[in-house]
Every structure is written in structure tokens, then in C-alpha cells.
């Protein structure tokens, strides 16, 4: 039996299907990512797993406990960090942490070792009200509160949204540490680049899981022909390339444009096409797909 088993979970809000017959399993100690845009159903799924919301149908277990019958058990072993900052804004940093420790019948002192690496950054502000912290500090406090009862599983809903690139990297280093301590982690994110930090990821869209695999395998299974293109006028290039061929998709990727096509074509043909549009400094190269390319490909395959 896997540590987390999700079996055909569905949830509708009126006529809107938020989660559609979703099934997957997560092993103990796994760092599992749920990647998908806003509205994909990530939060609904997480709220069902944390026993905060009832599914319309389907069932799930965590550590063998049923999310319906054993909800009290699950609340004891799970640490949850919601996407929206949900601590008490008018309590101080320390009061919030003490509050959550007390609720779970423990103390800050007892589990200090576990949160030390994170809490150390906000400890200088321990007498500040939580509502007056910066985004990065709020996130560290929320994670500390989710960890203070030494959970077996951490469920983190978009913990890095709105967080700068350096803090995001540090955050993922921390998650690695918790994984190494044996804590199972489910984390959702809209940042595709964070997928590579997970053991396995589920790509989710419109309530459905499109693919579950290790990031390496997701990239290996990418099928379209993919090239990257550059010129001295990127904005015009983006518009021009859209007229190149049917069944192609083009997206800006930082300094380059990625062009993916269901069928292979001659790069010279593309070069001529772009030159005729009056571009200079053209560079066309084969390109290794990123998770973001895979996500686009799955999304457009479906449509």
C-alpha cells in the first residue's frame, strides 16, 4: 500500500467540474509536485486530502487512514500550508507558532530542531505581528507553523507564488532537507521550472491529471519537433513565426522563441521565411524541451 492513495476523487462546484475522477499514489518520503495553472483544481484536491472539503465521490487514504472516517488522525499527521496566508495577522510571529504548537499538544521547544533552519530567518522579528511581515517572511512563518507538530506529510499549496527567485531556490533546498528526514511532501506550484526539483510530478489541467512521471521522463516523452529561434527583433519575430506553418505553436522563452511542430521540417525553409520578413541576427538551433514545453504540448494535444 502506498503512503497516499487517491482513488477516483471528483468534486463539482455547481456545474463547474473542479476535480474529475483523479487517481494517483504517492510513496513514503516522496517529494511530489502538482503542477498546473490557476483553476486546474490543485487547491480543491489539496483541501480534500487535508479533510477540509468533502469530495463528491471517490476515496483516499494517507498512511492507511481514510480521509472521511479517520479525519482526526489525518489532521494529526499532516501539516498544511494553504495558498492564501491564513495565520492570525494580529498575533505576533511567536504567538502564532506557539498557538499551533499548543493546538497539537506540543511546544516550540520540543520540535525546535525541525524548524530551526527556517525559523532562524524570522526569529529576529518574533514580536512583530504576522500581518506586517513581508511575503517571504510570511511564507517562512506559515511553513514553521505547518511543521511544528512534526507531521509525517506536508501538503503545501503554492508556497512559492509571489516569492523572489533567490528565496524560491532556498525554499526548495529546505524541502529537500525535509524529504531527507523522511517527510512525504506534496507541493503545488505554477512555476514550471520548479518541477525539476520534485521526484515525480503530476501535470494537472481543468480538473484532470494529464501526466504523472519523473521530470526526466516527462521530458523524454516529449514528441514534437522543437527548435529555438532568435533574431534582433524578438517581438516582431514572435508574430512573424506564427504565420510560418500550420500545426505549429510558438512561445517566448526568455531570450529565444520555441517553435514546436508535429512534423519535422527543414530548418533552411524556416531561415528563408524569417529572412524574407526582414530579420537580422537570426539564430536557429535544436532545442531540449523543458517541462514548460511538455505542458504546452499536452495542453494543445488535448484541444
Amino acid at each position: 500500500m502506498s503512503f497516499v492513495e487517491i482513488n477516483k476523487i471528483s468534486k463539482n462546484y455547481g456545474s463547474h467540474k473542479a476535480v474529475l475522477e483523479t487517481s494517483f499514489t504517492i510513496e513514503k518520503g516522496e517529494l511530489f509536485g502538482v503542477i498546473g495553472p490557476d483553476g486546474a483544481g490543485k487547491t480543491t484536491l489539496f483541501r480534500i486530502l487535508t479533510t477540509l472539503l468533502l469530495a463528491d465521490s471517490g476515496f483516499a487514504t494517507i498512511a492507511g487512514f481514510d480521509i472521511l472516517k479517520d479525519y482526526k488522525k489525518i489532521r494529526q499527521i499532516a501539516g498544511y500550508m494553504p495558498g492564501k496566508f491564513s495565520l492570525y495577522q494580529d498575533l505576533t510571529v511567536e504567538e502564532n507558532l506557539a498557538f499551533f504548537a499548543t493546538i497539537f499538544g506540543t511546544t516550540i521547544k520540543e520540535n525546535y530542531e525541525l524548524i530551526k533552519d527556517i525559523y532562524i530567518h524570522i526569529e529576529p522579528f518574533k514580536n512583530r505581528q504576522a500581518g506586517k511581515l513581508s511575503g517571504g517572511m510570511k511564507q517562512k512563518l506559515a511553513l514553521s507553523c505547518a511543521l511544528i507538530h512534526k507531521p509525517e506529510i506536508l501538503i503545501l499549496d503554492e508556497p512559492t507564488t509571489g516569492i523572489d527567485a533567490v528565496s524560491r531556490k532556498e525554499f526548495w533546498d529546505l524541502l529537500r532537507n525535509f524529504k531527507n528526514m523522511g517527510i512525504t511532501i506534496i507541493v503545488s506550484t505554477p512555476y514550471m521550472d520548479e518541477a525539476s526539483m520534485c521526484d515525480r510530478v503530476a501535470l494537472m489541467q481543468e480538473g484532470k491529471i494529464m501526466q504523472i512521471n519523473s521530470p526526466q521522463n516527462i521530458i523524454k516523452e516529449y514528441k514534437p519537433f522543437l527548435i529555438s529561434i532568435k533574431s534582433n527583433n524578438m517581438h516582431k519575430l514572435c508574430e512573424d513565426i506564427r504565420q510560418f506553418r500550420k500545426n505549429c505553436t510558438t512561445f517566448l522563452f526568455g531570450q529565444t522563441i520555441h517553435l514546436s511542430s508535429e512534423e519535422i521540417f527543414n530548418k533552411k525553409e524556416l531561415m528563408n521565411f524569417i529572412e524574407l520578413k526582414g530579420h537580422s541576427g537570426i539564430k536557429i538551433e535544436d532545442c531540449i524541451p523543458t517541462i514548460e514545453d511538455c505542458f504546452f504540448s499536452l495542453r494543445f494535444q488535448k484541444k
Binding site: 511575503g135 517571504g136 523572489d164 533567490v166 528565496s167 517566448l252 522563452f253
Partner: protein
């Protein structure tokens, strides 16, 4: 690039008590430019943006926005700019159309004009079927595209975008940047902050802030060259890490 200045900042300082949020910032932004502000949380970006919008007074410095002084002409500045933030941009309990009408009215457009342009906008954004739905029922990406359109509805000279794409899905993020490019092509100057470093590459110039100071200000390609980096992410990590060691 047009060399007419949209924004001119000389020695801008802003203090909150003993805390210096902005240290002696000096920079210009040109008309029609897409100008990116990058920095870690707490680097001072929002403080600068608020001052430029006329929402907060600088402690010292000479600052001119759209031809107006930030100390004495904030009302004129407000008429000539648009502002959109990640946190607040539209009223959740008003419908799509009501929001457009409200913001159009605030900026003094005539109702007839608002109606006509609202119809065009709603059609362009494919919101026709849900024009009378509450904003709270829209997915984030749609909201943000509408919020941007509303922020430039009155044809401002400058539009300020504070983390407009945070949490938005990758496809919508790119559609959003198409809209930014189109606004810039029409001559609107765009000031944008972001945590997606790939988006920094889409700006004409970027200003990287560390601990309230301007650490770098240049085109993305020049910054990458100067730092011997592979992309803007490398540049950002190099600079922002420096800021962490205090």
C-alpha cells in the same frame, strides 16, 4: 528607442523611520520603453513604484513623472498613469462590465465613450458571454488580462504593473506579455515588476534593486554579457545573493 523622457528620477531617497527603503536612486525611463524592476522581496521595488504613482511622498530627491512633479502635481500624475497590482486591481463584487465602467468613470471618460470602448474590449478579450458575471468568478489569468486592459483604458502615458503575472499560468503569462508589447508599440511607457526572471528578458531595460539601491540598470543582453552569465536568472542570482549577506 524614443529619447523623450517619461520618467526622470534624481537622488530619490525614502525613509520609514530609521529604515532606508530607497537609497539615492537615479534613473530615467524613456517614452514607449518597457522597463523592468527586479529584486528580492523587500528590495524596495514597491516603495519606488508607489512614489512614482504619487501614492507616497519621497523623503528627498527630484522626481518627474509624465512631465509632472511628484511633490506638487500628484493629481495630474494620477490622471496620466495607469496602475495595476497583483493584490488589488478590480472589484471582486462588481461584474466585468461594471468594473470597466467604474474605472472609465474615475478617469473622467464620458459614459457613451465608456460603453463603446467597453464593448470593443469585452469582445477582444473573449468575455462577451460573461460580461455580467462577477469578477470573483473569473480565473486569475482572465482577471489579470482584464485588469491590465482597465489600467490602460484611459490611454495613460505610463502604466505601472506590480507583479501582474504572479501565479498566472504559462500560456496566459505569454498572452499577457503580448498585451504589454502592444501597449508599448502604441507609445505607452510600461514599468513592470516580476519574479519570473524569463520575463525580465522581455523588457527593453531592467533595473535590479538590492537592499534599496540600484545594483544594475541596462538591457538584458548587456547585463548577461557584463556578468558573464548564461541568462538573466544567473545575473539575478549573482546580484541578489550579494544582498543576502548583510
Amino acid at each position: 528607442m524614443n529619447q523623450e523622457k517619461a520618467i526622470s528620477v534624481k537622488n530619490l531617497c525614502k525613509k520609514f523611520g530609521n529604515f532606508v527603503a530607497n537609497h539615492n536612486l537615479t534613473f530615467d525611463v524613456y517614452k514607449g520603453e518597457i522597463f523592468g524592476f527586479l529584486g528580492a522581496n523587500g528590495a524596495g521595488k514597491t516603495t519606488t513604484l508607489k512614489i512614482l504613482c504619487g501614492l507616497s511622498k519621497p523623503t528627498s530627491g527630484q522626481i518627474n513623472v509624465a512631465g509632472f512633479d511628484v511633490y506638487t502635481e500628484t493629481n495630474k500624475i494620477k490622471l496620466n498613469i495607469g496602475y495595476m497590482s497583483q493584490k488589488f486591481s478590480l472589484y471582486e463584487d462588481l461584474t466585468v462590465y461594471e468594473n470597466i465602467r467604474f474605472f472609465g468613470g474615475i478617469y473622467g471618460l464620458k459614459l457613451k465613450e465608456i460603453k463603446k470602448r467597453a464593448d470593443e474590449l469585452i469582445q477582444k478579450l473573449n468575455l462577451t458571454n460573461i460580461r455580467n458575471n462577477l469578477i470573483s468568478s473569473l480565473p486569475l489569468g482572465w482577471k489579470q488580462k482584464l485588469a491590465f486592459s482597465v489600467a490602460i483604458f484611459h490611454n495613460p502615458k505610463i502604466v505601472f504593473l506590480d507583479e501582474p503575472t504572479s501565479g498566472v499560468d504559462p500560456v496566459t503569462r505569454r498572452e499577457f506579455w503580448d498585451m504589454i508589447y502592444n501597449a508599448a508599440d502604441k507609445g505607452i511607457t510600461v514599468i513592470v515588476t516580476t519574479h519570473y526572471i524569463d520575463e525580465a528578458e522581455y523588457c527593453n531595460r531592467v533595473c535590479i534593486m538590492v537592499n534599496g539601491r540600484i545594483e544594475e540598470i541596462d538591457t538584458p543582453s548587456q547585463l548577461i554579457k557584463n556578468h558573464n552569465a548564461y541568462n538573466m536568472n544567473d545575473v539575478f542570482l549573482q546580484l541578489a545573493r550579494k544582498g543576502k549577506i548583510k
